[in-house]
Amino acid sequence: MSERETLRVTNLVKHYGSVHAVDGVSFSVAAQTVFTLLGPNGAGKTTTLEILEGIRRPDAGSIEAFGERRSRIDRAVKERMGVLLQDSQFEPYLKVREVIALFSSFFRRSLPLGEILDRVALREKESALVRTLSGGQRQRLAVGVALVNDPDLIFLDEPTTGLDPQARRTMWSLVSDLRRAGKTIILTTHYMEEAESLSDYVCIMDHGRIIAEGTPRGLASELGEETFIEFDGRGLSDAQLSALGSAGRVTGAGGELISLETTDLAGTMERLIAWSKRNDVALRDMTVRQPNLEDVFLSLTGRRLRD
């Protein structure tokens, strides 16, 4: 394991009865990067993370953290890591500053209270009880708690799930700040946009396995020089849909969104417009875009991320 790697995982396995939650996962995380596990719910992202956080023991596999091979995540590693769990809460009757002080007391080394409060913009709420905080404020508190020990390695499990767009953008800028500050971040998400905009490296997981990995741009470019033309296809008849086959390759005809995949954008557009005039179809909400991680997942599994 090189100096530039914070974490390396080899052949990690975790079974719950007959369920293969994690089924032979291997990857390495470069220092000072954002590493993302992308996949639908139940893909094994959280279980993988919880093994790395020391909550669960793997059935098989090895973990190297901070240059040392370990049978489990021990106290020494925990002193250097910060965690945002997916579904955890704090004592509802503690005040914000008490929560941060409590978690600070667990570590040998911790940042001053004021610095944490400023970092997650909770200075005004420091005397508020946890139970009175909004969803976004709670999530910021959870991030603050993950940072109390000024960790080198930060786990963020689904950090924006359930947040409104404003709170989500705040979280994204926090992650970018942490990366700039030289932290190594391991992130899980089922939001394709989140993985694309934040990650240096992405592993796509499905059914406990890694099915693709690379940089976001690199993964998308593996699909070739294709372009997607999409529009709202509600109310189309089967005959109209089959006639659309002459315009280009239809990939996402199952639901509301009709998706045409093509390497000849100009020609396909011409045929599409001709088809729409012939069938009297308004091309509502039509967009033209380059392939993204969602398309990668779709091409690998035949399913969408949020199915």
Partner: protein
């Protein structure tokens, strides 16, 4: 010590801030102490259960020791005075003021009885001595006093039954004075059998240790699983395990916080008992402190046991409720336990609360020990050991998946 103090403080502070737990751990025991003392204590404070009774003697005074009308009057007057222990009188007695016309008093008080302001009116009628003398001489039905009550009122019935006993006693005295009655067979009025159950030591001294144990019991059996299972369900605990804090330190901190909570409960109950109800019992002896500590630890262990066998917080509360009834009420916390059916005696026999209450009260000198001292320590300790053994094997820190 990393994190131990923080966890202890968190446990204490969150319990004190949450209104529901504050009620059950602090307000309810204080309330129970107050209400049980009010009902069964009757200690020195004005007693609302004193019966309101009026007494008028219409018979003119007769010189000498044979003024039996005055004897009867004094016998009732005695019931209107506090006894030497300072306990409340049975009767709140009204008599004509000096110089007031007895007949006017009689008319006014009859009205008072009619509208329910008095439980009873006693009239010693004019001619009392004449009729009495005739009866003693053997040619008359005897003297009578008139008693006015309003029908259907419990206080009137109660007052009349007391009057009947007094009359029987007075009859005995009069008859024995004239040599026609054996005084050893005379009825006597034993007012203690009717009035409050006070005694030495006071009921509050018996009750206070019981309510302290009940408060510890509630905090242990309900509070501990409440915090642990709630914390597990909400993943509050899980968040701790991704820090250097381990479950051992958590348990040490949690237990310290719990004992601090018990200390607060104890202090509040002691202050109320001492200053509001005049409890004299002191908890300063090392044995008493030892029993309090033992009780807090035993109930803490029961809390861990419940936390380890219940899958959810709701299930934990249900188990605590099931244990609550037999343990609390078949442990002699509030009343001395008399004769019980065999099954209930069996529960009492294995119930650690029985031994804790017995040992604590004996160490306080409130009541005599009914089981050997060693047993009062050994049985609760065995329970604590069993609970901790089961909990250490079965307690889960994270929700199962």
């Amino acid at each position: 010590m990393t994190g131990v103090v923080g966890i202890a403080r968190t446990h204490l502070v969150t319990n004190l801030r949450e209104r529901v737990t504050l009620f059950w751990f602090l307000a309810f025991p204080l309330f129970l102490l107050t209400i049980l003392t009010a009902i069964f204590g009757s200690l020195g404070t004005p007693n609302p259960t004193s019966l309101s009774v009026s007494l008028v003697n219409l018979e003119p005074r007769r010189e000498g020791p044979a003024d039996f009308a005055a004897v009867v009057e004094e016998a009732f007057a005695h019931l209107g005075a506090s006894d030497t222990h300072g306990r409340d009188p049975l009767f709140h007695l009204r008599r004509p003021a000096i110089g007031e016309d007895p007949q006017e008093f009689l008319d006014r008080e009859r009205d008072a009885v009619r509208i329910g302001d008095r439980a009873l009116l006693i009239e010693i009628p004019a001619g009392f001595h004449q009729r009495l003398d005739a009866a003693i001489a053997g040619d008359g039905p005897g003297a009578e006093i008139r008693v006015y009550t309003s029908g259907g009122r419990i206080s009137s019935d109660l007052a009349r039954s007391i009057v009947d006993q007094v009359v029987a006693a007075v009859n005995g005295r009069i008859l024995s004075a004239v040599g026609r009655f054996d005084p050893s067979r005379a009825l006597t009025v034993e007012r203690a059998s009717i009035g409050s159950s006070g005694g030495d030591p006071l009921y509050i001294d018996f009750l206070l240790p019981g309510v302290v144990l009940m408060a510890f019991f509630t905090a242990g059996l309900f509070g501990v699983p409440g915090t642990i299972l709630f914390g597990r369900e909400r993943r509050i605990l899980k968040r701790y395990w991704v820090t250097p804090l381990d479950s051992r330190r958590f348990l040490v901190g949690f237990s310290i916080g719990h004992l601090a909570l018990c200390a607060l409960q104890f202090a509040a109950l002691l202050l109320l008992g001492r200053f509001a109800f005049g409890a004299r019992v002191g908890f300063a002896s090392p044995t008493a402190v030892g029993f309090l500590l033992l009780a807090a630890v035993v109930f803490l262990a029961f809390g861990f046991l419940i936390s380890s066998v219940a899958r959810t917080a709701n299930a934990g509360m249900a188990i605590a409720n099931v244990l609550n009834l037999p343990m609390m009420f078949l442990g002699g916390l509030f009343f001395p336990i008399g004769e019980l059916p065999a099954v209930l005696r069996g529960i009492m026999f294995i119930n650690p609360v029985t031994y804790l209450a017995d040992g604590l009260r004996a160490s306080l000198g409130v009541s005599a020990a009914t089981v050997p001292f060693v047993t009062t320590i050994a049985v609760p300790l065995i329970w604590a050991g069993v609970c901790i053994a089961v909990a250490s094997r079965r307690l889960r820190w994270d929700v199962e998946r």
